[in-house]
């Protein structure tokens, strides 16, 4: 393929005719800044490629990782709609890592469709359509305005002539890219907003979809790794004699993070790893969860860094009568991601190049990590992004990539390195455990007047000051409360923490929405009404609250033995309200039904959105009902699904998703429905039992919950 780059205008880059003739377009999508290298790179490099081949096949390269959120269907749909492509002719290809061509490739924060991709992708499709029309019109000697497009064809209605896109793609590629292509009026969308065929489903139900651990490279060894059981420990020495005695084991090598065993099969490697005798260098971390939470409680006694301030919350609280004020401590545990596909990576390190196949949310980080380890220039490192067996933020890290690259480099062969489930669970970047001290007050008329929150949570991202993700969902929210003070307290612990689906709000919304519920009950108010009056300046959020309330039957009697609870959030461009209906079955919480209203802006594919929202509720329920990573003497106690249970089908509630029609810009859909479910369930349990849940996971015993005096 010759790619003679001619920069036509800011967003488009026509790459010229391809072999066998056809049209190849690039489009710049402003997905944030890439690596620092991008700053010095040419400004107009493309990041989504669109190819129309002579056989009519439309290929769209996807530079975002698909971990189930459906970007490999949703992004092509946006292009294909404006293009008037025949959806049955559309294929998607996964883009390899590039430091700058695609902008920032990191797939996090429910940001693939929102954050600016929407309009550039539409313009890419529209520009290509206009070029195809111009080429056809020129061939027929008619005015382009007399031509129409539909389902991959240009037609001239007056003369009844029609050409397939593939027939004019080569001619179109010789034309200039239109500077301002005309976009469709949304009433003319044919794909956007429909339940179009999901492109990857057939591959995923036949076993043909290739995940990281399914990659097979000639001469490849299968490897696994043993990491130090305690955070902060390192390898002091190891005896590999027994491991080497396992049939099939070929190499035992020390890597930065532990000891790797390579073998002919994964099973041999796993047995070899079990036979290793490793002496660990004591890193000195010996805390347990109880001690960690005690240290958090001590931190919360002191002032933190100011994260949000409005009015004078301490004065307002001090001035409120004791019967109009509540103080409470809320806690949430560390959580593992527990992606279905454990961490793995395949690496082939050669003297002059390195090739990597990784289920990663961070292709560019993978590329630069491999360049650093191998000493090769970044452009000698090829990173292929495979399908991801879940992501949830875990695969934005590169620790598993580093294990594989170091091992391949050490053994001089391609290596697929797979973590066991146990390694995966005990060496995660956990959702931080948190301890929050809250105070709130209501006035004589039952209005919420003051909120003071002191947040104790390990930082996700920052070295000092306020850690934005740690206070997200508490420092900013839609409630119009006159007096607010949010402080952040920073613990210093070696427990690795990281982004976990929906990040800060996954625990902070539990805390805020439970506490607002406490205040509603203190004021003797209905929890929906209490929230409604705080949301008058947020009509979209108010509307989803109303939809959830009406659709759930809020205000009518729940079925016998059941009660309802409500919670809401604005998160990553999505507005979500949920009502949970719960009962107790022999002291076990049973969630029967979840009514969820969501306004996620314009929806590309309602089926995918409903799936994401339902899945988010399952994610949040697993955390609310079961999820808890505990630390004992510096190491994680849980190791597999027996002691870190996920939600199973028999626990699945009926989930009703009500998508609010919207013509606003598309918002996030992969995360915003996670945060409200834990507080909706906890608030329902309060309505049912009078017991206030102030600690996750939900346990209905005296130690972990507090009998509310007003209940």
């Amino acid at each position: 393929m010759t790619t003679t780059a001619r920069i036509e205008r800011r967003e488009f880059l026509k790459l010229g005719a391809i072999a066998g003739s056809g049209l190849l377009l690039g489009v710049q999508v402003p997905w944030g800044k890439a690596s620092p290298a991008a700053a010095s790179a040419p400004a107009f490099q493309p990041n989504v490629f669109l190819r129309i081949a002579p056989d009519d096949v439309v290929t769209i390269w996807c530079a975002r990782s698909d971990m189930g959120q459906g970007v490999r269907t949703a992004l092509p749909m946006i292009v294909a709609d404006e293009l008037d492509a025949d959806w049955s002719q559309v294929r998607v290809e996964q883009a390899d890592a590039h430091p700058s061509s695609y902008g920032r490739m990191m797939t996090v924060g429910s940001s693939s469709v929102r954050n600016g991709a929407w309009m550039p992708l539409r313009r890419a499709g529209a520009a290509a359509r206009e070029m195809l029309v111009a080429a056809a019109a020129a061939r027929w000697g008619v005015n382009a305005s007399e031509c129409v497009t539909a389902a991959g064809r240009v037609s001239h209605q007056a003369s009844g002539r029609s050409l397939r896109y593939g027939q004019v793609a080569a001619a179109a590629s010789a034309l200039p890219v239109p500077a301002s292509p005309t976009l469709k009026d949304p009433s003319r969308f044919r794909l956007i907003g429909t339940r179009a065929r999901v492109l990857d489903s057939p591959a995923k139900v036949t076993g043909q979809a290739i995940y990281g651990a399914d990659v097979r490279v000639p001469g490849m060894l299968f490897a696994t790794v043993v990491h130090p059981p305690r955070f902060g420990d390192r390898v002091r020495s190891f005896d590999a004699a027994r491991a080497r005695g396992i049939p099939g084991v070929s190499h035992v090598v020390q890597v930065s993070q532990g000891v790797a065993v390579a073998a002919k099969t994964t099973w041999s490697a796993l047995q070899g790893a079990r036979a290793l005798d490793i002496t660990w260098q004591d890193g000195g971390f010996a805390l347990s969860s109880a001690g960690i939470f005690r240290s958090f409680a001590e931190l919360a006694q002191r002032e933190g860094v100011e994260a949000q301030k409005r009015g004078d919350a301490p004065a307002a609280l001090a001035g409120a009568g004791a019967d109009r004020r509540i103080e409470a401590v809320y806690e949430a545990p560390y959580l593992a991601h527990a992606t279905m596909e454990p961490m793995n990576c395949t690496a082939d390190v050669r003297a002059d190049r390195c090739e990597i196949w990784a289920p990663t949310q961070n292709p560019q980080g993978t590329q630069s990590a491999a360049a650093r380890i191998t000493g090769l220039p970044v452009d000698s490192v090829t990173v292929h992004v495979t399908f991801l067996g879940c992501g949830w933020g875990r695969r934005s890290r590169t620790d598993f990539v580093e294990d594989a690259v170091e091992t391949s480099k050490a053994v001089g062969a391609p290596v697929q390195l797979l973590w066991t489930r146990e390694e995966d669970m005990q060496h995660d970047y956990y959702r931080p455990a948190v301890h929050h001290r809250l105070s709130g007050a209501v006035d004589a008329n039952g209005h919420l007047t003051a909120l003071h929150a002191r947040v104790v949570a390990q930082p996700f991202a920052s070295q000092s000051g306020v850690d934005g993700p740690a206070v997200a969902g508490l420092a900013e929210h839609d409630y119009a409360i006159p007096h607010v003070l949010v402080e952040y307290c920073r613990p210093d612990l070696p427990v690795p923490v990281g982004y976990w689906r929906s990040v800060g709000p996954s625990q902070n919304t539990f805390i805020l929405e439970s506490f607002v519920d406490e205040l509603a009950h203190l004021a003797g108010r209905d929890p929906v009404e209490f929230r409604r009056e705080l949301l008058t300046a947020s009509p979209r959020l108010l509307h989803v609250l109303d939809v959830a309330a009406v659709r759930s039957g809020w205000g009518t009697a729940a079925p016998p033995g059941r009660a309802r609870g409500v919670a809401l959030v604005r998160d990553k461009g999505g507005l979500v309200a949920q009502v949970a209906e719960v009962s107790l079955e022999r002291d076990r919480v049973r969630v029967h039904k979840v009514t969820c209203a969501a306004d996620c802006g314009r929806i590309i594919h309602p089926g995918i959105v409903e799936g994401q929202i339902t899945g988010s509720i399952v994610a949040g329920l697993a955390a609310a009902l079961h999820g808890e990573i505990t630390i004992e003497n510096g190491r994680v106690s849980q190791s597999n699904f027996l002691d870190y249970p996920l939600l199973r089908m028999r626990e699945m509630p009926v989930v009703e998703v009500h998508l609010v029609p919207s013509e606003e810009e598309p918002g996030g859909v992969g995360e915003p429905a996670v945060p409200p479910i834990a507080p909706a369930v906890a608030n329902a349990l309060f309505a049912l039992t009078g017991t206030r849940i102030r600690r996750l996971p939900i346990r209905l015993d005296a130690e972990s919950s507090t009998r509310n005096r007003s209940g």
């Binding site: 489903s201 994964t266 067996g389 799936g611 699945m652």
Partner: protein, 153 residues
């Protein structure tokens, strides 16, 4: 090591392997049938589900030496072209999200439908609760099983 003959997806495969090796790793690493997934290694997630003479088993805890003459069917052998009623129903209901657990889910569902032509929700829950899905596709799995049950086999 021992010589073992395994019947996989209708083909006899002669292997020289440790009979204690879990079937999962033979399928994946020796026969390159990677549709069957590793998730937990202790029969808690169901990602490794295959059929032995039509019965769903967890291949991660099934020593290959115990398979003997039983016919092994993996997701690759369920149909050559996604035409099995369960696979068709899975596509029609857009069940997969990340998709990693889905080969195991499909195999469990196919085994269920081979003994229960029209399972109730409770029977589906019972048969499918050994298969974890981190994406939370359970309601669509239920719908897809009902859809498959309504189709001609």
């Amino acid at each position: 090591m021992a010589a073992i003959i395994l019947r996989v997806n209708g083909r006899a495969r002669q292997l020289d392997v440790d009979p204690g090796t879990p079937l999962l790793w033979i399928l994946r690493d020796v026969l390159n049938l990677t549709g069957t997934k590793y998730g937990c290694g202790i029969a808690q997630c169901g990602a490794c589900t295959v059929h032995l003479d039509g019965v769903a088993v967890r291949s991660c805890v099934t020593p290959v030496g115990t398979v003997k003459a039983r016919a092994v069917t993996t997701i690759e052998g369920l149909s050559p072209d996604a035409s099995h009623p369960v696979q068709r129903a899975w596509i029609a209901e857009s069940v997969p999200q990340c998709g990693y657990c889905q080969p195991g889910q499909v195999m469990s569902a196919a085994a269920l439908l081979s003994v229960h032509r029209s399972p109730s929700d409770a029977e589906i829950d019972e048969a499918m609760s050994g298969n974890l899905c981190r994406c939370g596709t359970y309601d669509r799995i239920r719908r897809a099983i009902h859809r498959a049950a309504g189709q001609e086999g």
